[in-house]
Subunit: 315 residues, 2 copies
Amino acid sequence: MSRRPTDPAELLAAARAGDRGALARLLSMVERGGPDARAVGRLTHPLGGAVTTVGVTGAPGAGKSTLTSALVRAMRADGERVAVLAVDPSSPFTGGAILGDRVRMGEHALDDEVFIRSMATRGHLGGLSLAVPEAVRLLDAVGLPWVLLETVGVGQVEVEVAGEADTTVVVVNPGWGDAVQANKAGLMEIADVFVVNKADRAGVDDTVADLQRMLSLRAGAAGWRPPLVRTVATTGEGVAELWAALRDHAEWARSSGELDRRRRTRLESELRRILTARLLQRATELAEGRAYDEALADVLARRTDPWSAADALLA
Amino acid sequence: MSRRPTDPAELLAAARAGDRGALARLLSMVERGGPDARAVGRLTHPLGGAVTTVGVTGAPGAGKSTLTSALVRAMRADGERVAVLAVDPSSPFTGGAILGDRVRMGEHALDDEVFIRSMATRGHLGGLSLAVPEAVRLLDAVGLPWVLLETVGVGQVEVEVAGEADTTVVVVNPGWGDAVQANKAGLMEIADVFVVNKADRAGVDDTVADLQRMLSLRAGAAGWRPPLVRTVATTGEGVAELWAALRDHAEWARSSGELDRRRRTRLESELRRILTARLLQRATELAEGRAYDEALADVLARRTDPWSAADALLA
């Protein structure tokens, strides 16, 4: 039995040579957070820059999983390699659930050029807002050219995750309004491509007209008007058009400078989140030591005040 | 025209000598946060320890303001001096609004032994969760024996503020259930005294029976069963009983050790919040300097990674 490496650098070398097990273990490190996750980030950031990320969001039941699976099929037919990260902020479970992932996208489970993984927060500081960009950086560093970020719902976190992609796809259904009422404006704002899935259902023309009206009011990125693609994910209808729209948007974003602008904004936001997470971690550590217990005793006895005690702990 | 002091120590000396204008200016400092607020905290913490705080919470429209005003009248009739802090987490406006405060509790506006002030967050880090204990500490240090903390609603923040008092009064009305459905359990948990206000309305007996049933299921502090007081705040009916219940609870809390336990828990939680606020402030400062801009440029050019850049900024 060969030794299984646990060192991030060794694992990364193996993953870059095509070892999917090593990649899975690195993703687990990223998901857990902590020193290993930071080590992975240090190693992978200089290696990347070629990946295109596509966020897929929409109300639960809109058919995002089926659509993502159909999209992967279209990408594979063109010979593209692709990773799918299914992001679920509400779930305590996680991508270690390999069986779940295989069942989820069964048709791609045996395809070595498709990497599927679900991610959930494990409650560490910063959670998904730190883990997702780190995971993308890792997939980029091992040479995967496309990463699909599929989110489960239309809550604040999901929309943020999907909105931080190079291209964001918003999936709706005929008569979608009620399902996403609370976050309609947020979805309109982040969409680069609109998909009306289940387009064989009644009301699809009204929904398309409704979206077109809203889009005409939107102050979007200059030079790009989000296309509206009708799909029936279960039959594959319209999926080739979606894949073409994604390539169009990626090409436009690259040539217009929009991609650079987005990446700059994302990295700046990530650096701020890392600073905040590191300092909050320090607050937690400070509140666990013996010095803290002594400081608290002094505050309770009014030998010092909380502000001076905090200053002393921070010094 | 005499010089108006701006130094916290000078202002505090004046406030302790009875200067209400100085006290108001100190409260504004506390509300604004920052170095002055911390200076006030440093000065006042060693001077206090005698105040009793009473949190008054309940759904909007339950009659909390009228009840608080009636309670102040009962306390004044017994010769007690009292401060009222009306806490509104949702309002961008604040206690500088002296006219509003006077209108609010007009009958006490000219009484020098009653100090009325509304507080709102001004958006500084930590917000009300830091400002309210600091304000209580200040009122304590100037020798006010009672502070009523009246909160506007039953949201998370309001319940937290009211629940961090020495005695917490939950005000409901006949048929209260619907108004506070979302936070019924939270209110049951923090109540030391229940008031059924507008007790001249239909359904009061059902509401009292309902509350008694819920209270019998509650695992509360051993040795204290929250009394149920029926009031009609507009006529003053039942307010003497409420005032008696507050004195009873204060006496029980002092003799049973519950007061010490609560104060310890509160101070510990405050010290943690101060540490967190100080470190988050540092994150904000770090993200504004020239070193940050240089670090970001290095990250964008992939000369370094975000984790190493954060470490360098924190070093």
